[in-house]
Amino acid sequence: MLVHLRRSFTMALICLVIFGFAYAFAGTGVAQLLFKFQANGSITANGSTLIGQNWTSPKFFHGRPDDFGPYAANAATNTAGGDNPLVANGFHGQSGATNLGPHSKVLLANTKKLVAYWHSMGVNPTPDLVTTSGSGYDPDISPQDALVQIPMVAKATGLSAATLTKLINSQTHGAQFGFLGASYIDVLQLNEALAKLT
């Protein structure tokens, strides 16, 4: 009995040291050595390419909205609203979805407001542009979501629709290995490339 207890205790202690400390530090060490940029959050001069940002100017392509509500200023939290990932989930710095069911009146009202917002910007929105993502800060849009924003961006920047279509095509990442996930465009990288053209 005592022997069993001692062995169990020793085993637990060894596991704690190996998996709790050695594995964690080795993992961090290897990541920092081989994938320093990615391990630190893919942060560039203009922010992380993996975190959606708040785009309000018609000179840029917009990302997907966050779940804090449609594109309206929010006086209570002193934030610009819209697709601002700072207030994803209604809390600063926290990821999260709206969790609204498909037959929710709130979701219907929010979506209607978002559709009206996009129409006021001269854009005929796709579903991605009027729905929030799972994380609340989806950094990507689909190629179709970018194409429908061409009228807005062309008007504000003076670039031709053909130039913008070419830009979108060059920024499109296909599904990985052709079948894993879906094709997408990183909004930050797309806008960085756009800024070089204007």
């Binding site: 710095g93 209607k112 559709v115 994380s135």
Partner: protein, 354 residues
């Protein structure tokens, strides 16, 4: 404007989160966040890891009982049910979100609410089914925003007792419970004493198997009934109407099955849900183990009966079909009334919003 970005040692914690079918995320939105799950490849690797051990255990089982065919038969049961569930869940998620359609946006890209662009609806549905049919419970999309039938696919994946393929170990033993009930029914049909792996299945074993199969549904349905009966329980859901009931049912099913995923709209961190949830988890996890261990002990003590021509085979298609039937009938009969009050009502309420 500055951004606050939560960082930490996420990457290699992710591996053990999926492989251990634990599913608790580093970040609030779990595998939907880019730091936990940045690409289609990581999404695929996550699914591989969470399925790896429970699926491989069928081979271990085959080796241990000295007949790989028996392991393959159990694997077939898991794979067939899994395939059907992936099929109808991804079909449901490929439909338009009713609220988005009602707001005048039409498309062919499926239900995008709560889903990430880089995964799309099909990968999200596949991940959801894999995560709820094992006892992982990680999420790369907001399950609460799935279509009614899609959400039902996730919920029923757990309600079948998480046997397809289930948690690491717990999936296999729960499936063996169903297998014993299946040979009992098969034995009744052909009028012989049922056997499994050469061991006679008699009254005592069938009673224990029946008890084990009933523990989870009884616990889950009783705590759900309590939750919808008291004000503290009804205060939980975010959504109104049948979807609110689905949130409660999903939450308590998930806890009773040690899954851990949620319809995230349910405010679970209240004294009521903490206490009820803790009881749900403890009973769902441990109360089933008592009859399982007793059954194991009873079978181990028995002598092996030599196989004869009249023995009901337990490694062929007939057995696979019978076991699937038992799983569906037990799961269906116990949970259909509850399901019909939630997702089915929601699905059939064409054009109504709550």
């Amino acid at each position: 404007m500055t951004q606050t970005i939560a960082r930490g040692p996420i990457g290699f914690m992710e591996a053990i989160k999926q492989l251990g079918t634990n599913g608790g995320g580093f970040l609030n939105a779990n595998s939907a966040t880019t730091f936990e799950n940045p690409t289609g490849l990581t999404n695929f690797l996550s699914m591989y890891l969470l399925l790896a051990i429970p699926v491989a255990l069928t081979h271990t089982f085959g080796k241990m009982v000295g007949s790989i065919r028996h392991g393959v038969a159990l694997l077939s049961v898991m794979a067939l049910l899994f395939g059907v569930w992936v099929g109808f869940t991804s079909f449901a998620e490929h439909q338009n979100n009713p609220a988005v359609a009602a707001a005048g946006v039409h498309s062919t890209v499926g239900n995008t609410e709560g889903k990430e662009v880089r995964f799309g609806d099909t990968s999200s549905a596949l991940f959801g089914v894999a995560s709820t049919m094992t006892s992982t419970g990680s999420a790369d999309a907001a399950y609460d925003s799935f279509t009614p039938v899609g959400g039902m696919g996730l919920m029923t994946g757990m309600m079948l007792g998480e046997v397809t393929p289930g948690g690491t170990g717990s999936g296999l033993y729960t499936l063996l419970i169903y297998a014993i009930i299946a040979v009992f029914i098969g034995g009744l049909m052909i009028g012989r004493t049922p056997e499994y792996l050469g061991k006679k299945i008699q009254a005592r074993e069938v009673k224990l198997a029946g008890l084990a199969a009933l523990v989870m549904p009884v616990v889950v349905l009783v705590v759900t009934a309590i939750a919808v009966s008291v004000a503290a329980g009804r205060a939980g859901p975010l959504n109104a109407g049948p979807h609110g009931f689905s949130e409660i049912l999903y939450g308590l099913t998930s806890q009773g099955n040690n899954n851990g995923s949620a319809f995230g709209g349910l405010t679970g961190n209240t004294p009521f849900y903490n206490i009820v949830g803790a009881i749900d988890m403890l009973l769902g996890r441990f109360a089933i183990m008592v009859p399982v261990l007793a059954l194991g002990g009873a079978l181990a003590a028995k002598n092996v009966v030599p196989e004869s021509l009249g023995t009901f085979r337990t490694d062929n298609g007939m057995f696979v079909g019978l076991t699937i039937g038992v799983i569906l009938i037990i799961g269906g009969l116990t949970f259909f009334p509850a399901i019909s009050l939630g997702p089915i009502v929601e699905q059939l309420s064409h054009g109504r919003f709550f």
